[in-house]
Symmetry: D2
Subunit: 332 residues, 4 copies
């Protein structure tokens, strides 16, 4: 089959990658649509040390077959899927789940071929049905939307919490929308006025990060993944405030920790989140239109472009440009 | 002025109650619309030991005058107002705010005449402007909606938390809608099928409380204010789960605490909440229609009837009937 | 063997109770010393609906045999043991542990014969070695001390938290000592001056519960198990404070919940706790003497009397008298 | 008077520094004994940008005079004192206290002369009486012990939490002792075997930091203040674990944040803590001797040397050497 693979650090569109077969308990899925995320771009740059295989972990697809007779009901269903595959035997899997299993594989990231391909396999337990009212172009956002919801699992923004999201990119705008729900007081901060057009279009309050005074937010979400964004985020958090790190940083960060210690800031790393509420939120938001921050989420305005799988390399080039929104790859 | 007052336990429509004058720092407000809540009904029954004065604390009105020259900008503005008036000097006021000030008065509840009258006074610091897009019939729900949001200030429902609201009444339906935001998984439980029609119309999942098995929810909100509802709520909370008591109970409750101790349940009392996010939520929800649980809140379907102030006693009789939604009193 | 058993609500010393045999994975333990706790007294009164079998769950003993060849190293060792025996297959067991397993048995409380007998069996995974420096008379307190430590697992008293323990009984004095550690500010409150002699002897600040004003503690631990104690505990907790229910209540409690709701109190049920830190604390405290609240724990001053197993009925009579400390039964 | 002052980055023993006079509400204190801490050494290196004045903030002394007639009872009393002096008018002061007041001065650190001098002034509200049983040589540790207790205010180690303190220095050993209280499971980790002699003498479990596997602690306290210690601390924290930063870092830290994000670590900055429980802990521990980790705290073994104020420069040279314990300066 056709697949976009990383091999010894080189990204290639391979015409004859072997089609995977579902193992015991797995489903074989025909990929419909997949999304490129910053982690994919970091993997190409060498993050996480040498993944070899098919990239991609954001997707929607249709189950074609299963390696389990009692899972036949899944065949033909439209699905999304959790990306972490735990051992299901260790203490971490049995208590917290697969996300932090030391033996886990991760779809398109760690020892498991991903979704920039015609076919992919995943354990049936990882699958979630997509409601009919949720279009493929929305369902493909389930994984990053779940990651945004993860913030709400880790910390409890009160309705009166002053929240800033630093970085008006793909993930930042999902995080901001999710935090604006339930009457959240969220401002999206960027470095350039043109980067604020899209959040404004989504109905979110915006501002220039340089113009905001020190210590002016209770909760800051860092969604830039670079040193300057991190420095601003620390600067903006009030003493005893909270800073959520939502982006993976490539290489070492150079941080002045004095504010962190003297201001007794709490910093929380945040990664994967829950699929079921992400799908519920997409379903609830299916009919919404227009400037409605705080009322459902809008994901389709975040789409920049769509490429066929045959042009996946061009899709990656596009996605790597600064200020670009979500680039999708249509696999079938 | 005309006012509905409780005097030595007797509720009376008084034609010539003295019109209040704004003290230093206070505003004089022409009441537009006011809502009857269960606490008002409990006060008439004798709850909180002998309040004497004008009842009522849910309202929207227009500022007519202020007792502060520097507050002239408020005159003519449409407002709602926080109901707790703290001493502003004690440690509680200076840290947590007026809600738990031991010297506080409370609008229509404790040593302060309320809003079932043509005029009322409140400190200017308690006032909040009503956005233009929020109708009076929505703004009058600010106070109970803030009380519902209070739950989100006290506990952090994760997106995966299984939540039940026991009691599909006025407050229960506000709490359920607020908890359904941000992808919350909420079910409204009632004793009779007909009580579930309104929550179903609001798009909320519903069920009969008797039909639900023990230990099946992570978080239960008790919104009935009676022993049977409390017993069910304790029964439904899973071991190590949380139970929020949102209703004031009249007199002593008769509770079997064994489940609470053996199941290590956490019980959280919950009262007044923040007005600013409540108004933000009403503004965001202003244009919404239809079955959209989880996406904004709908308050106007909760209105049962509206009476002129001259018929306030009839309004109370109506509100006291079982299964009745919000009864409003139009004062001007 | 000789055993003290509850049969159809009647407590009897049975001379020829069948000696248990260790099942697969279990150890057979010769009971050395066992303690009577309030739950035992409640079970005799009918709490928890009809346990039939040998009572008792606080003990220290010596392993005589095991039903597992690979557990031979336990033979001859002095042990205490966790009282909850989970199914080890359900989600609760695999995440939180056996304490809330819906299929659990509980030593001497629920479908599992207890320790007021010459022999008892327990799964090897439930056992903990007793350090040499910890005497039998201290080790027998491991289970109630673990239950006291459970409070510190559930809530985080800050060093500045004002704590009251209401009820200077067996469990109350363990809770107070554990909360006094790490610079805790703890007062033990009782109804009668004579009940305060022992806590004073342990170096704990004491007071009469009636003399304390409303709202004067941040954290209150209810350790009386009766309505009056519960009412005082609620009364003493400040608005937004916390109340821990540590005692099982027999039958229904009659509570005025107004303070709980209006004061937004959090109530936390608390039951079994961790054995490993309880043993560590007993070991650290082994050499301590005198008035040293806040520095280790003293358990042996809590011993009221010791009876041989042959006089276990007299031991129960003694333990049931008001104001009595821990009564021990020596089984071998 | 004689004073050790930092002037334009140069540390000097000044023979004729002007003796301070107590302002309204302040006390004039004769310094008895003062301690050199790492922050003092960092200030000399240029941390916190250019403090000019008398250094020093850890002390015990005797009140000689007050600038308040109603505070006469303080005269002649032995005291320690909180180091943050807030404006007492801003929202931070009125809610959280002076530690994070944006207008605060800080004794010997920020716009307020410190205690390496014969006399110092402090607001009376900052003073705490030293119990008679607490020697000057213990009381001088009140401030750093309060800073160690601050960890327990910010996070709640459960009795079963596996805790590492990385850095067996002055502050690390106070933090480790405080965390060992209440049955804490604490290991002190250092880079060289000889650095572990003192924690072992205090009865604390110890180990070499290099020898510990990744992800092996639930809670790690970073007490080295250098990049290597920080990297190890992040490495040792388990996924979803917590890292407390207790040391101020001089300049920028160079950190790999991948573990923080992917492992969803929580990092908590931690600074000043509460004096009252610190004094209570010193009083409770006054009579303790020997290897008793977990039972009170021992501070006097942490003393390396004592110098008269006239030899304060030599004291600083001594304190700046690696692996050195607390160096004291006797001012009178």
């Amino acid at each position: 089959m056709r697949a976009l693979a990383l091999q010894d650090g080189r990204l290639e569109l391979v015409p004859d990658w072997p089609q995977p077969a579902p193992a015991q308990g797995e489903a074989l899925i025909r990929v419909t649509l997949a999304g490129i995320c910053s982690t994919d771009l970091e993997l190409v740059k060498g993050y996480a040390g040498g993944f070899n295989g098919v990239l991609g972990h954001e997707f929607v697809g249709v189950v074609a077959d299963t390696g389990a007779p009692d899972a036949a009901e899944w065949i033909g269903r439209r699905v999304v899927g959790g990306i972490n595959i735990g051992c299901r035997r260790c203490a971490v899997c049995l208590s917290d789940g697969p996300e932090h299993c030391p033996y886990r594989t991760t779809l398109g990231i760690r020892n498991k071929d991903g979704v920039f391909a015609e076919w992919v396999t995943l354990p049936v337990v990882n699958l979630r049905l997509v409601p009919d009212s949720v279009a493929d172009e929305a369902a493909v956002f389930t994984e990053p939307l779940a990651a945004a919801l993860r913030i709400r699992e880790q910390i409890a923004p009160r309705p009166t919490t002053r929240i800033a999201v630093v970085g008006p990119g793909r993930l930042g705008l999902l995080a901001a929308q999710v935090l604006a729900l339930a009457a959240g007081d969220v401002t999206v901060l960027g470095r350039r006025p043109e980067s604020l057009a899209l959040p404004a279009q989504l109905g979110l309050p915006t501002g220039l990060v340089d113009a905001r005074p020190d210590d002016s937010f209770d909760l800051v979400v860092e969604a830039t993944g670079n040193d300057a964004g991190l420095a601003h985020s620390l600067r903006l958090a009030r003493p005893r405030g909270t800073l959520v790190l939502k982006s993976t940083f490539h290489g070492n960060a150079n941080v002045n920790l004095t504010k962190l210690v003297v201001g007794e800031i709490t910093v929380v790393g945040s990664r994967c989140g829950p699929f079921t509420p992400a799908l519920r939120l997409l379903e609830q938001s299916a009919g919404l239109r227009g400037r409605t921050a705080g009322v459902g989420v809008q994901v389709q305005p975040l789409i920049e472009a769509e490429y066929p799988l045959a042009e996946a390399l061009a899709a990656f080039d596009h996605a790597a440009q600064p200020g670009v929104r979500k680039v999708l790859i249509r696999a079938s």
